[in-house]
Subunit: 292 residues, 2 copies
């Protein structure tokens, strides 16, 4: 039984609070709306992954925190925009009303946009590295992961596929782009800032890719089996939206098997690496244990 | 009578076409939607300004084109999001149906998000500079200009002020953030990449700040006096939305006077600089001549 790295999550939560402007910054409603979604808790899976990946190469958490938090900003912005009435029309997120339910649709759109901008602000302003090329590299990595070739592209294919029968191949594509790409980027950024060699970066990329898919299959499973308390969002929402999921396409048992296989592949990718890869292996194990 | 630097605009248009992925990139609808708004023409005021500002310091247009185009991506994304039904609910833009009218609200939101990401992709991937610190500096500049302390913050105050009596001071704040900040950033990025000293960068910043305000007052005036053909968007839209404008607050004549005064202040800011500042002075003149 692997435990989630709560100490690392706590570091992330503290940094998010610290970096974020005071709640009374003008215009207050915008900062309140950003803060509402950003500081609503959550596993902080992506920034935790950045820190753990950096740790493999001996880099201290502090040295990657601006980049790690910037990735969480982007994840949060994407949740706000995906929840909008014109997109998934979700009412509940992380156990609270979604951003537009609380602040209105116009402010929610702007809060998402603002978090996206602040992500790059944070990284370009606070991230330090002896080699400035590394900072440019992580910015490139994160921009590519969140753009049309990554997260946004996956979301658009997801939207276009909703209510239609799709193949497992298409579903894999959606997951790889919509959530997988930013999770992979989170791992890669940690490795880049930590000073990974090209070969090591390849191993971390493979780890992140498999982990991202394991994470998303698990999410699909939990959407079916979890309660509103466990999920912090409306369960069965995928089915209500007629979204394709792994359980819908291959059943619950096969989904669990696939999630475990992906987590195993993630672990195998970093097994041959030197450095402290134990935390990455534990994280992969944790992901699949969530599915029971 | 100053003419718009059409040759520079043509360089920008060519580069925008060149950088943009093929129209049949998957998912096609997303790239079509991005392309629809990005390549719909327009003055390309911001990227032109970046190129002209770089030229003061002897930097060739080619050397700043990725950054200049990235700024146009961000301007375009902001137009798409501002036009959304939940925000300004505009039907016409650059003479064509707005993005959501053409592609639907969900795709329009995603196209804006994708353009925002691609802006940073473009700059971090293609922008070259002998000193990598400069690239990080322009990314920081653009992120700050487009975030809650800049463009998005201005848009939120604009939304909150719509239909309410506001002071000239608040209007100035809205204009300075919503449009001014990115225009100033466009000038500053050109100067930074061109190798301006701190003192020169201050002069360009002052130029951009005054020019941005002149530009926006002019826009307010044209919204009242222009035709749909001249504007490429619905004229009188500001009044329909009960948005505060300079003409509404101080009248047309005083607005024209203020626009000219700002353009003059812009020119004065670069007058003491060495280097070829003629193009910047011409641009400031052009802005106010648009108001008749």
């Amino acid at each position: 039984m692997s435990l989630y790295p709560e100490a690392v999550r706590a570091l992330v939560d503290t940094a998010l609070e610290e970096y974020f402007p005071a709640a009374d910054t003008y215009p207050e409603i915008l900062y309140q709306s950003m803060r509402y979604s950003l500081l609503a808790g959550g596993k902080r899976f992506r920034p935790v992954l950045t820190i753990l990946a950096a740790g493999v190469f001996g880099a201290a958490p502090d040295s990657v925190l601006p980049c790690a938090c910037g990735i969480e900003y982007i994840h949060t912005y994407s949740l706000i925009h995906d929840d909008l009435p014109a997109v998934d029309n979700d009412d509940l997120r992380r156990g609270l009303p979604t951003n537009h339910k609380k602040f209105g649709e116009d402010i929610a759109i702007m809060a998402g946009d603002a978090l996206f901008a602040e992500a790059f602000s944070l990284i370009s302003r606070l991230q330090t590295a002896s080699d400035q090329r590394k900072i440019i590299e992580v910015i490139r990595e994160i921009a590519a992961a969140s753009g049309p070739g990554g997260m946004v592209g996956g979301q658009v294919v997801d939207m276009a596929s909703t209510g239609k029968p799709i193949s497992l191949e298409t579903l894999r594509f959606i997951h790889a782009r919509k959530t997988g790409r930013l999770i992979t980027a989170a791992a890669r950024c940690g490795a880049i800032l930590g000073g990974a060699t090209d070969e090591e970066l390849d191993a971390v990329t493979s780890y992140g890719t498999h982990l991202g898919l394991a994470f998303q299959i698990t999410d699909d499973i939990l959407d079916e089996t979890g309660s509103v308390e466990e999920l912090g969002k409306t369960p069965g929402q995928d089915q209500t939206l007629h979204k394709a999921t792994y359980p819908a396409l291959v059943g619950l048992d096969e989904s669990r098997r696939l999630a475990r296989a992906e987590a195993k592949a993630a672990t195998a990718a970093v097994d041959k690496m030197s450095g402290n890869t134990g935390a990455l292996r534990d994280l992969a194990e944790f992901v699949t244990e969530r599915t029971g």
